[in-house]
């Protein structure tokens, strides 16, 4: 399935469009998608450290999705680097 991953914070540097699209197998867990994203960025945005992906969370508009979770059916995700609000 095609997955649309919105970028925020320091990860916006990974793609000037503000999102990344990946092709994911079905089924696919968040943990597996994390590996796919890391591989994609290693190739297309080498300035982004693998450690930053490791420390980032995936989320839908409603909740954080942890590594064991399946991808949402609509394929819409956000990847959230460590937060620093306030």
């Amino acid at each position: 399935m095609k997955v649309h991953i919105s970028l925020f914070g320091a990860l916006r540097d990974a793609d000037p469009r503000g999102f990344i699209e990946l092709e994911a197998p079905e089924p696919c867990t968040i943990g597996e998608l994390r590996e796919l994203l890391r591989d994609h960025l290693r190739e297309h945005a080498p300035n982004i450290s693998a450690g930053l992906i490791q420390r980032s969370a995936f989320a839908s508009e409603n909740e954080i999705l942890h590594n064991h979770r399946a991808l949402p059916e609509n394929g819409q995700l956000a990847v959230l680097p460590p937060v620093s609000g306030g």
Partner: protein
Amino acid sequence: MTDLHTAVIDICDGVLTPADALAFVSDPRFGGIDMFIGKVREHNLGRVVTGISYDLFEPLALRTFEEIGERARRKFGAPMKLYIAHAKGELRIGDIAVIVAAGTPHRDEAFKACRLAIEAVKHEAPIWKQEHYIDGDSEWSEGCSLCEEQREAEDAAKRGAAHGHDHHHGR
């Protein structure tokens, strides 16, 4: 929950207004109101800051604010009104980045709810800040991981040591 007001305000559309927060949390039942205001300050970690850009994942940020409000209400039990608003966009020195206000019958719950809410906003809400420095450089702040597995690993590594980051980059 009509006793909870949450907002993300794009700085292009308007500013955060303490008077609105106070009006929202005021109630004839309440004797105590505590309000925290976070502003952009001109120095951080020894560097001169000229402004901060705030990036938010809005739908989840608003959900997180609501969850925080419900948590505060559960924890303190008392009747409570809570206001949580965060700015988005390019802020300058002195601009208000965040307002949290709590109204309760007595002062103790107001202070505690306000503190709980601002800590949770800073550590749990999908918000990122990029500091701009006088030398033209800019940097995204180091922050709290929202990734459960990563957070547990980091917490384990830090066990016994102080949770260092929030006094360094924090407002």
